[in-house]
Amino acid sequence: MTAFLVLIRRDLALSARQAADALVAVMFAVLVVVLFPFGVGPEADILSRVSAGVVWVAALLAALLSLDRLFQADHDDGSLEQLALGPLPLWALSLAKAAAHWLVTGLPLIVAAPILALMLQMPASGLSTLVLAMALGTPCFSLLGAIGAALVLGARRGGVLVAFLILPLTIPVLIFGAAATEAALTGQEAAPHLMLLGAFLLTSLALAPAAAAAGLRQALG
């Protein structure tokens, strides 16, 4: 457990030193949302109708942006093999890396989400559900992303490959995340969607670290 926390703390410290890297995800999401009204026009009712979907897609793409570096930096400088020789099994290693990734990119996205939604004229009645759904959905991005990041280690153009590998897996998160917010806005029950998101998160939590560990074993051998 100590090693687990020590690793997370190191990753957070490294992100804090390279603050530009950490902020890229949020800035990217902000840019997408700011540009969107230029594309579809400034009418409030059009914007508010698509707001939930746009915020979710922006968050997903922003999370993807930094995923290919999840293991790559440690792989390149030899840290990964040293980490593998430590007390943590590879699945715990993957879980720690995914947790650090979520703290650096997911958490700021959750904080930014209501502001982005307001910029797209989302009525205030949907904001709390949006934040709740994001809190369940963004960890899925980091966990699933760890699988892709482990699989593309050593490949050229890893970033594009990660996107191809991971985007299909994240579609359920996108569907139920946007649907939960949509339901709250139209006065329907959001709970079923949130529960499905929660179920998806628990499944990813159980399966993704093991899958990522298999990818790491391949890269180390």
Binding site: V6, R17, D76, D77, S79, L85, G221
Partner: protein, 189 residues
Amino acid sequence: MLLEAEGLVGGRGGHPLFGPLSLALAAGGALKVTGPNGAGKSTLLRLFAGLLVPMGGVVRANAALRYLGHHDAVKPAMTVFENLVFWRRFYGSDAAAAALVEVGLDRLAATPARYLSAGQRRRLALARALDPAAPIWLLDEPTNGLDADSVGRLEAALARHRSAGGATIVATHASLALPEATMLELGLT
């Protein structure tokens, strides 16, 4: 026995490089592995570390080990001391500032690692690997980029470690004094 190999066959990409070879290393023992490029020296060390799976036979390390590979595993954004402390904490051993003195980096402890020269980075990696808490040290080309003083300090550290009951396998091209070490010369097959 701290390290054991029986009928060990090692290889890369499905091609056997050496073996079958059997060896055992007791407390205080040292094994010096030499041979031309591509003979399998690094592969042998990675097999003992558990990073590779043998193509045949068995390989066992019966105690905690530290491995020094070709890469230094140094984070440029962290200071020299932070780099060392992270690895020591991660492995659950003492974060000893003494390790920096041993490799002559104590005066650079607060310097960000990005300002280190290649030889200084290698010494920082050595400070991580030369951990008294682990009885087994596997060192792959530890003298790469080191000056004569540092090589002398490394020899002294290895001697101290062996007299304290540790064992080491060193793969090297350079002349590194390892008194009473078992020699293993790998050839090209």
